[in-house]
Symmetry: C3
């Protein structure tokens, strides 16, 4: 019953997307005159296929950790992402049209995939809590606001954020926490035996499929928008080292802070191992040296595990759910990455960066100082936090309208509501 | 017991393949004189690795949806594909030898992978119904006939079918339905409780691994044989949009036509989401514009879900099994794609396509008109349908010989027959 | 409790890695002056991403076949590999520094991934038997010795081993068997019902995820270090054919030698299918012709299945555990590949290999004869066997110290020891 409106909603959007897309003039990329718009180099973009795996397999399976919400995790992840990429192609292109014409290239698809990640991060915050109709509504608003935010921090501020730690991870996490804050309800007493908001042995294993694929392809994600072979390799190497550092650290810290001392907690392993990829995102193409990359990963691992262990339960006590702990995987590591980007921008000199400078800090070539760049990095982080949390709260409040058929508490974390089960 | 003959059979083929392959002169690609045969550019073929994942992980896991046939689904998928790729390398090369020499390149491997897809589609139609010996026999015949069909429609008719929607998907599906028609037996009464031809919660999740990987890499599959960067990007973008359109549509229509109104059916989500990739296959490199690509996907989603909901049960009533519903995923969307290719060929003009024309419609450069090309597209579709269904029925009839040890009804959909279970 | 020391141990190493890495001067790859060190071509290394999937998804999931050790299999695989790649970057680079400077490129990451495979192979031998602390200790020693071995056989002997069958697979397997020999304990009587050292229906399916991904990407692994397009294609094609041959053979032989005649054994299917990739590894870039490639795969399939069926139980009787049967998947096929490399090196002529010669047999260009090369291949195999088994035994003996808290027999194959289970 309750997804009906969502689907009608979704059908309308779909038609809209179809209609608008029909007007996109793609003759440019179709006429084979490559020199006219320079889109052919976009055919060589590295990282598109790997990122595609992250979005659909990575996020999808990572969220199958709940024992009775696997169908919904995989299904909604797919539905939301498939809708988001169409919508994101339009919203993003809105800021980059030439002569009122949208030019689609393979790179556009990559950027749409990346944009859809914000929606999936937000989905992680309200996994099992939001209804199908609410999720579709949230997705549509978030993509529109997220593209605006990217335009502000990228095109206006010219902040450096090659791996999207500020514009994607931080944005998605705090938009999600905003929504979750608005949706918060007084929690009833659910008997332990009937609680569905936990894993079983099998669901934790399928979640590892997602987690490991995200980990594997994160270097491809962070390096996809680099412009020179040297910048590309720096991004790959630094991300790889940061992830490796965070992984070892997540195991060490998990066994140290766990209730049962010396044992690992699967939640930390599935998530905090990835925090190194987020934390290095905004600075992975800068000159940070491998030792610092590992150190950044170690910091991210500590921050993330401690967040899962201490902060998430505290938030839950005041009614703010964060089912996947996106604050610990994307939120705080994203802020951490933003702060690092302020620091490394302030340290940048044209002597050190040489011909690599304009690819990383575009505005510094045209006279902006390192200090100025650092301030813009700070502004990018600040605007992202405000815009994401603020519009997240508003979106969450709107999503509570009966129109979007919110879930009763007893219907949470349950595939039964949305699926014909075997 | 009953796989013994199949294995002997298989062993013979294996020896034959080995013997013949031993005679393949590969000195050409081995002597490093690249300019002599132009094979080095084949080293750069995009899409080979992704397609390899589709064949072995994609098809393999998609078929694990049956609760007690997962070992067989994965095992036979692997065995059949590993045999088919060796056999296809020979059968395909038979039509393209130079000086009685088969030249193998990385592109040959891609083409062998694609050819093996026909066998796996057919396997989907008779999943759990055909014995191991029958499957091996079917595979050997199908590859031989399928390569002949590809030669007719590609080399003789010069029809355009870059994603193989006609030559691979339509062929595999109707060959499978032909086999299934021949194998049809009067269905006994199996008590509901002991029926094995359905999923359980876990098997539906492992099936999603296959389904999502097929979805992710479909753009790579459809675009692998394109020749210019512009054609490559068109194929990627159109396939991506069609898949996205089909996915959203599959969810919407699934919840609309389901027995339990408003709920999703996992069968539709696993399969109809992919119909967009089949439907766009024959036209994805043509000038169709993004809006039309999405519309094609929407059509495919509707066609496929309705097929699963209404047509498959009707076919089952008259005794024709189609375990995976390949008619709804590969068959009807393949025909749909063939019809679209007739339409877009008829609309092609050299003004519009410019330098891209010869890469897409090879014969139009040497004087064939758009109308003529459309007729050849029609001929390709017609020949494929006739040849696949006809030889499928004959193969199915031969497969009923005791030599191939057909399964009793009580042995269907059961790993117990073929595997030592834990 | 008992992982505590391991983690302290691990923490120390981590700090060491961080400290040393901090001193690596990466300004070379960071200053964008590409011509200075020639590292930019390393940005184009094929096979890195695919190999990354093999290491973390492939090995990880392949080892989930035990019913109550899936968390540990995935978790320790991840932890060990993440530690090993950091440590391997240092150990490998130690032999290739210029001006006391370690230059990291994307190729270095590939090589670190490959090196970590030795640790994971060894892990397979003692899966469920070694404690966390033991595993960390083993990993650190093995990487150091393994890098030394690679330096001896590659840089000093200049043996040809493009797919690492000698230096990685053989080394990892016999190091593991050495450890296992040292760890062997008198086996108590464990009642059948409570035995954990076997699969269940689900765990065998998740193991197939790993197995198939290993199979799919093996051609990428074997071909990654080739230097010309022709050599690259030979490596890809030969590996592909050998794997296909081994796969069909594994099915045939499995059903022939099985306890229940005519049925397949999942252990053989998960592992012996891959033996073709190991067996072809050292010779896949040589001029061996496709027929021989298939024949090599067939031989590997027979060798591996018979090993699982007859040799592993025999070893177990004398107390040497080999949980994953690495001797049958990596050990014997690795020796087989080494012997093949002796043979094909002896047959190599500069007439036949032409300009491809120096890429494959570097020392033959500077005067070494084919016979000499063959002797060096033999020496490489011999040194690898001695060094791996010898240091494996010593490492195993040291690992029995109480410091590394060995497992009691009743704690084997049990996630309960290391994980907080749901």
């Amino acid at each position: 019953m309750f997804v009906k409106r969502g689907l009608v909603n979704c059908g309308c959007v779909l038609r809209a997307v179809g209609d608008i897309a029909r007007e996109i003039d793609t003759s440019r990329y179709q006429n084979g005159k490559d020199d006219e718009y320079g889109g052919d180099e976009d055919a060589d973009i590295k990282g598109y296929e790997d990122t595609h795996v992250m979005i659909f397999i990575g996020f999808g399976f990572l969220m199958t950790f709940l024992k009775k919400y696997c169908y919904s995790a995989l299904g909604f992840n797919w539905l939301l992402a498939a809708l988001a990429i169409q919508w994101a192609l339009l919203c993003q292109s809105f800021y980059h049209m030439k002569d009122n014409t949208i030019l689609l290239t393979k790179k556009s698809l990559f950027e749409a995939d990346v944009m859809s990640a914000t929606v999936l991060i937000t989905f992680g915050a309200v996994l099992g809590i939001a209804s199908g109709a609410q999720l579709l509504f949230i997705a549509l608003v978030e993509i529109a606001v997220g593209c605006l935010n990217l335009y502000i921090i990228g095109d206006i501020f010219k902040a450096s954020d090659v791996g999207g730690s500020i514009g994607i991870h931080t944005f998605g996490a705090y938009f999600g926490l905003g929504v979750s804050t608005a949706l918060r309800i007084k929690k009833g007493e659910v008997p332990e035996a009937s609680r569905l908001d936990g894993p079983n042995y099998n669901s934790d294993i399928t979640a590892m499929i997602g987690s490991i694929f995200l980990w594997i392809y994160w270097p491809s994600f962070n390096s996809a928008l680099t412009v020179s072979p040297a910048e590309y390799q720096r991004a790959i190497i630094n991300t790889y080292l940061s992830l490796a550092g965070a992984t070892v650290t997540a195991f060490v810290v998990s066994s140290m802070v766990n209730h049962q001392k010396g044992k690992f907690d699967m939640v930390h392993i599935q998530n905090s191992t990835l925090a190194g990829g987020v934390a290095i995102g905004a600075v992975c193409n800068m000159f940070i040296t491998p030792g610092i990359a590992i150190a950044i990963g170690i910091g991210a691992g500590i921050l993330s595990v401690c967040g899962y262990r201490f902060l998430t339960p505290a938030l839950e006590k005041i009614g703010i759910q964060d089912t996947c702990g996106v604050n610990n995987l994307h939120g705080m590591p994203g802020i951490y990455s933003g702060i690092l980007s302020i620091l490394f921008a302030a340290l940048a000199t044209s002597e050190r960066y040489g011909p690599e400078l304009p690819g990383i800090f575009a505005a510094m070539e045209s006279g902006r100082t390192a200090g100025g760049q650092a301030l813009y990095q700070l502004a990018a982080l600040g605007v992202t936090l405000l815009l994401s949390f603020g519009t997240g709260v508003i979106t969450g409040l709107l999503a509570k309208l009966p129109l979007f058929e919110p879930l009763k508490e007893s219907d949470r974390y349950n595939d039964e509501i949305n699926w014909e089960l075997p």
